[in-house]
Structure formats: structure tokens, C-alpha cells
């Protein structure tokens, strides 16, 4: 290889490498994406992997029997193990959501929304893990025969909070009469103060159109 070719090869190599290294720097800093080890060593950090034979060390989580993940089956349509996340499906009049973008799942950038099993309401009202519900804000309950369904405050960035906002509804603790009662995935329920768009009564959510469907008249 002549000198020109050698120079071109070296220049191209040098030019190629920083592109990847700079990728994570929002302000264009030339620091590598991986933190420098001398900057701030993490307390008690150990070299990895510590597991025998390589891979990851999750020994504390794998101790004893493997355990079973509650509701770990993905809610795949067409599967025989499909759960019924929307136990209540009303067929009354639809209160159309005029603020949701059109098209299937338009409110969710066209991505189908499916509940995540280990969260209250499948995660529709926020990332409230069933195992950690005491940390969620309790917002009353709805008794239905022998069963009492607790309600929790919707998280501001959740789809459920967006639904309330689209209808101009203000969430309120369940319990008093004449509220808007919205049944979400996995028998979750929240209540709201009625307004000029949505009157008091029971509703379910049509997840695809992001609209409320009222209970049929008695």
C-alpha cells in the first residue's frame, strides 16, 4: 500500500470511531458513553460477572425454588391462556372522545395497548404494582355484592389520566352516589365528578378508540 492509501486508511479509521463514542452526548462533549472508572467509583461495586461460569449474578433472586410470576402469561390474542382484562364491557351509548386522534389506537401512536399483569388495572391508571399498592394513593372503593373494588389515584402521565383529561373529568374518591364510575382493565375502577359531557353512571373504556361506553339503561 502506498503512502496515500495508508494515510487514507488511518484517517478513515480515526474518523469512524468518534461517531459511536459521541452518540450519548447531548451537548456534543467528546467524553465516551461509558463513565470513566476514575470519576466516581460506586460504593461496594464489584467486578462483574460474579456468577460462576459467567453471565449474570441474580443468585439472591434465584435462591430456593424459582418461584412463579403472578399473571406472567402475556395476554396474547388468540391464545387459549388469554385473560379477560376487560371483564366489564358495556354496550350502551358511546360518549365519543373528541380529543383522541382517529384511527385504531390513534391515541397511543397506533400501538395497541395491552395490560401488564402485575399492575393495578394493568397499568392503565399508572405504574401501581399490585405488590406495592399501599404506596399508591387510595381513592375510595366501589362495593359490588360481596366484592369491594378499591380505587387509587391515577398517575398524571398514565393513559387513564389522559382519558380523564380528554373528557375534562376530575377524579374524586369513589363512594358517594351520582359519580362517573369508570371501569378499566382487570376490574380496576376510578370515579370522577360528572360534567356537561359525561353524566353520572357506570362506564367502561373502549381501549382502541379511547372512548367511554356507558352501561345500558335498565
Amino acid at each position: 500500500m502506498n503512502r496515500f492509501a495508508q494515510s487514507a486508511f488511518v484517517v478513515s479509521l480515526v474518523a469512524a470511531l468518534p461517531v459511536a463514542l459521541l452518540a450519548e452526548q447531548p451537548h456534543g462533549s467528546a467524553l465516551p458513553s461509558r463513565p470513566a472508572p476514575a470519576a466516581r467509583p460506586e460504593p461496594a461495586a464489584r467486578p462483574a460477572p460474579a456468577g460462576a461460569g459467567g453471565g449474570f449474578n441474580f443468585n439472591r433472586d434465584l435462591g430456593g425454588r424459582g418461584g412463579t410470576q403472578r399473571g406472567a402469561q402475556p395476554p396474547t390474542a388468540g391464545s387459549t391462556t388469554v385473560r379477560l382484562p376487560y371483564q366489564r364491557r358495556y354496550t350502551g351509548p358511546v360518549v365519543r372522545n373528541g380529543r383522541a386522534p382517529g384511527g385504531p389506537w390513534g391515541w397511543n401512536h397506533g400501538v395497541a395497548w395491552a395490560p401488564a399483569p402485575v399492575y393495578w388495572g394493568g397499568g392503565f391508571w399508572g405504574p401501581w404494582a399490585l405488590a406495592g399498592l399501599p404506596t399508591a394513593v387510595y381513592f375510595g372503593a366501589i362495593p359490588d355484592g360481596q366484592i369491594v373494588y378499591p380505587s387509587y389515584q391515577a398517575e398524571p402521565d398514565s393513559p387513564g389520566a389522559q382519558l380523564l383529561q380528554d373528557y375534562g373529568l376530575q377524579q374524586t374518591p369513589c363512594g358517594p352516589p351520582d359519580l362517573v364510575v369508570i371501569w378499566g382493565p382487570d376490574n380496576s375502577v376510578i370515579c370522577a365528578v360528572p360534567n356537561s359531557t359525561v353524566g353520572p353512571g357506570n362506564y367502561t373504556v373502549d381501549p382502541e378508540t379511547f372512548s367511554l361506553v356507558s352501561a345500558p339503561p335498565p
Binding site: 487514507a8 486508511f9 470511531l17 460504593p43 461495586a45 453471565g55 418461584g67 401512536h109 402485575v118
Partner: protein
């Protein structure tokens, strides 16, 4: 002519290096309930549907994280993990989750994390898990593969 050919070959070599340099840059931090911390580098991160596959740097372990309830905060996708499985040493074991969050930036632009000054790189992932045994896991890195 030879010089031009050599230049083209050099350019081709440099482009071939680009994906190698950009791939498998994931970092996982595992903090056990006793405070011990382990950090894993050079992870390969694969997204298939709403399931994330995280391959260890030595390719001997794979952590599978299944998520649901995927919604958007502006252009940033946020999912909730509900099942975690470790595939390692020929065995498949469940890691019981309490809760977690997966942020996905599938766009070509930086995206700001909700209520945060931090941003997530284009085509990158940020994942947090809290297991039932009190282990905290965080993963950050570029998505090496994305499939539906």
C-alpha cells in the same frame, strides 16, 4: 487508480467498523438487597415486540424482560415489565418482579425523560426493575436489534 481503489477500500473498512463500535454498549447495574453492586458492560440489547432481551458481554447469560401497558409520554415510549426470566447455564429461571419501568426511544432524536433533565439517546433503552427479593436493576444502552 490504485490510490483511489485503496481509498475506497479504506472507506469501506471504516464503515464496516461503525456498527461494531456502536453495538453492545449496554450497561447493567445490579444492586442486591445487601447493598452489593455489580456492573456489567458490553451488553447486547434486543427488542422483540414488547420484550427486551439483554445478553451478557460474555454471551453466557440472557435476561428476558416482558412488558405490557406500553404508552407514550410525548415521543418516548414507556412500558411496564411484568415478567423477568434469566436464561443461563442451560437453565431458565424466573425472577419475580415487584415493579419496573422501561423507557424506549425509538425515534432518531434525543428524547427527554418525563419530569427529568436527562435525555435518552436515539434508538436507546433505559430499564429499571425492582424484584421481590429487593434487588434493583438498571439497564441503559443502544438497541442493537429491533423486531416486531
Amino acid at each position: 487508480m490504485t490510490a483511489v481503489r485503496a481509498l475506497l477500500a479504506a472507506l469501506a473498512a471504516s464503515f464496516a467498523l461503525l456498527p461494531v463500535a456502536a453495538r453492545a454498549d449496554g450497561v447493567m447495574r445490579v444492586q442486591q438487597s445487601d447493598g452489593a453492586v455489580q456492573v456489567y458492560h458490553d451488553l447486547k440489547i434486543r427488542l422483540a415486540g414488547h420484550t427486551v432481551w439483554i445478553h451478557s458481554g460474555d454471551r453466557k447469560g440472557v435476561l428476558e424482560v416482558a412488558s405490557g401497558a406500553c404508552s407514550f409520554v410525548r415521543e418516548l415510549q414507556r412500558c411496564l415489565p411484568y415478567a423477568t426470566t434469566l436464561h443461563q447455564h442451560g437453565a431458565t429461571r424466573t425472577i419475580v418482579l415487584q415493579q419496573g419501568t422501561v423507557y424506549l426511544n425509538l425515534t432518531g432524536d434525543l428524547q427527554r425523560l418525563p419530569h427529568s433533565s436527562q435525555q435518552l439517546l436515539p434508538h436507546a433503552l433505559l430499564l429499571f426493575l425492582h424484584t421481590m427479593h429487593g434487588t434493583y436493576v438498571s439497564v441503559k444502552g443502544t438497541l442493537d436489534e429491533v423486531s416486531s
